[in-house]
Symmetry: D3
Subunit: 196 residues, 6 copies
């Protein structure tokens, strides 16, 4: 057997410079330390994006506005949208990290992998299937969205505000996935095993 | 000749509710009135997104962080990225509105249409062509971005920070284009003719 | 800020030799001078294709047979088909030149850009939308055209002859767009501003 | 075994009306009778397109200008371009009819099927492979044609006029293939067996 | 006219080593000699795959299990599936060899070329059209197969076992086509002319 | 919050009938019981495919010929090919089941998810990257495989036999993925957690 040319070392967490906590603006650092305290580790997205504090702040504000709000979507359903669309965009960070969050929110150790690989074969309700069909259309061919797509969602009892939420989450992770692929953002090892 | 079934009325500016200025939170309203004073009209993106004030604030903060900053890209070049990637996403609002801004910034009445239709045939420098090739890759297949793509940009004398800017602008408008297509955001008539 | 490597000069009107008016066969020259008199300038398509007089004559005869005939499609509708399909083919010459003609024929300064960027969001009638859906199918995946596609058009009150016209215009500009992209045909500056 | 619902009858030669020879304008009829005398049968493309005499005349003039001219491409090579691009467009009429002509011109009973199915695996020279690569690019993504593509052909000793020919043949059959798919043009049974 | 750089020699039957009959394991050799006796020549697929006797045996066993069994599909219909999906995969060997078998089984000299080029325009029954639509979906986007696709086939009077057969044949030739393209498997000259 | 229409029950392991162990032919049953003894559970692929004993036997023989043989590829590398190409085909069963096997073979709890989501960002050697690039080409566009692709692999020190292995594994799982998507094959819950 031919031996591999060299053992492979783990890739770095970003292609771009990553600031130290002590070099960050106080508000950015505070946010990161709060997450660290809650999770037990710092998800790399925080460190990678902290390279640009203004973009970091806007990114986090946008994320929270969509993911932490009240509404007709459960927190697990919001994460389903993230996982399905991030898989379509082949975003390693988002699938691994939000896959873990989805397992936690849904209290289901299988659902994240099912949705990431082929959401059409996942153990979800018809309503959730309609939600993901719409989210995938926003992610992959938003230019074809028409009134009929909206109506199809409404028939599954999504309110007008829910429709905005589904679409806006898919749209926000279109940005997030591209930033992760641009920076080569590496998921923390901790995520892979969470809530399995 | 068969007569069209009915004359066509202009489509509305959004599929979702559009708040009145007087119903908006003061900071949102203030931002909009400042734009109105400067431009002579309110670009519809402000009215459409104001339906969700928290998302509005994050969106505008993100936009300003990328488009109004200093760096190796001119303001015209930033708009070139917006126009090229928004055309690939068939985003009517962004191509029309940012096309107008590009004509103004570049002092060139032809450049926006050239880039929107086929940026490979536009009157741009080889350096700008490399910039748009990279931006299009982020917009359309970010999962394939590798170190070689970064190096290709660096050879055209883009700094590491410039590379982030090019990619981040393409990523941000991946979000913006999807919100416009989701909401059916209509460009103001005023944009079409500006700086022709 | 890094300075662009060099200012960009406008690209030439063709990658191939462009004959002088005085070197053209008399009938080709006469046709071109007639257009010049009517329009005030010579659209570059005439000069670029005159490199091959026999192809020039066949091209113009085909064009006139489809675009100048009577029938159930208005002249503006014929131009809508040209603009929508040429945009899908990213043909700079055809979108810019026929966009101008569409604005003139439709007496509507917005319609050409709307259709070029995303015809699904343009201010058109449902009948025109069906016409463009069919034309785009001919342009992009004619191999899947079936009787059901024809019936869908007929239900919008297009005659059998109209169906041929819609398809044949899309087919002719499949040729035209490819010749423009092959030759690097440059739209005249005059077109950009016409009828805005 | 379940029995097929009904035996299948051959499809008609066109979805649109097909004129009788005696109803055609004299010049159209004369052209068709000349072909019939030479070939022993009337290729259906003549009958199907004769429904529109002006388009018929322009189509045939264009065809002859490209396929019957002198130049650096042999007649067999011109037919190779037709077969390769028509197969990519899934055009039954053009692959079957021009496949037969290619077998005759190349005096090779295998070459047409080889090129239609996968031109990359056909028994052709490297120069012919470069020619077909270029033709396929014109057929399928002409918007990306750049100076480098032209240079690649020139390195294989194609003159500037040959490059035009290769591209123009691919462009003309982009039209022809779409007309055949629009009309449901049926190849004559005679073609299948010719020169096998 | 520029002369081709060199006459083209036929490509070899495989990119990989091809064993001699006398070097093959007895069972492999016996199978091949039986085919040779029946057909009058040895189809290249046997020689090419005999390079790997274990894979050869499994391949042939799989093939026979699907193609020689009883059931609701006629032998001609099984070959239709092979030809349609192999054409979509641009597999020269399978289209040429199974095209010949289809002509024989269907006693129809036209059907193989019709299906290979565009099965939507072939002289087949609506039931066969449904069968090929399903087979193409398995070949090209099996991940989207859902219960509705199965039901559509069942409505055309295919039994549950027939549905498996249609899908499994398409799946098996997904393997076969890739082996042929990997090895550069060349069809025997004899196939081209059989049953024309 | 709107409540989901109904709780979702897990999907069945196959859309087709699944035989009982006691109804299977003795050799099929023996093979399955051997696996069960070794693994502690019966992977569903065995039960689903046992519906067709002849196909079952051919499938397993083919699998073993490729996956259990000696050669220049490690067992982990063979599984990398399975996981990468099965993810591209969105095959839930293969990604989950072979992902588990890959984690075991590579003694690496992260590698399967990394490769499934985006193999370009996985912790692998340049040689393994070249192997997966080739395998993906076989999986997704085998018709474009040329001698240059083979040479690129050879430069990474893969022998001619290794090249066959890489391609043949990708080809075999093209079949396997389609059978899993056709049957709606459900991965066993046990796989998700193995070797994390």
């Amino acid at each position: 057997m031919t031996k591999p040319a060299r053992a492979s070392n783990p890739l770095p967490i970003s292609r771009f410079p990553v600031p130290k906590l002590t070099d960050m603006p106080p508000d950015v650092r505070a946010r990161i330390e709060a997450v660290q305290e809650k999770s037990g580790f710092i998800p790399n997205v925080f460190l990678v994006l902290a390279h640009r504090p203004d973009e970091f702040r806007a990114f986090m504000a946008y994320h929270d506005a969509l993911m932490d709000k009240e509404g007709g979507l459960t927190k697990a359903e919001r994460e389903m949208i993230v996982v399905a669309t991030s898989a379509a965009n082949q975003c390693q960070y988002c699938v691994v990290a939000h896959g873990a969050i989805l397992r936690i929110r849904a209290k289901n150790p299988l659902i994240a992998d099912q949705i990431a690989i082929n959401y059409r074969k996942a153990d979800i309700t018809p309503r959730q299937r309609a939600m993901l069909d719409f989210a995938m259309k926003v992610a992959l061919e938003a230019q074809t969205i028409g009134d009929d797509d909206i109506k199809a969602l409404r028939r599954h009892d999504f309110s007008e505000e829910d429709v905005w939420d589904v679409g806006a989450i898919a749209a926000f992770f279109a940005l997030s996935n591209r930033m992760a692929n641009l920076t080569g953002m590496r998921p923390n090892d901790e995520f892979y095993k969470l809530a399995r």
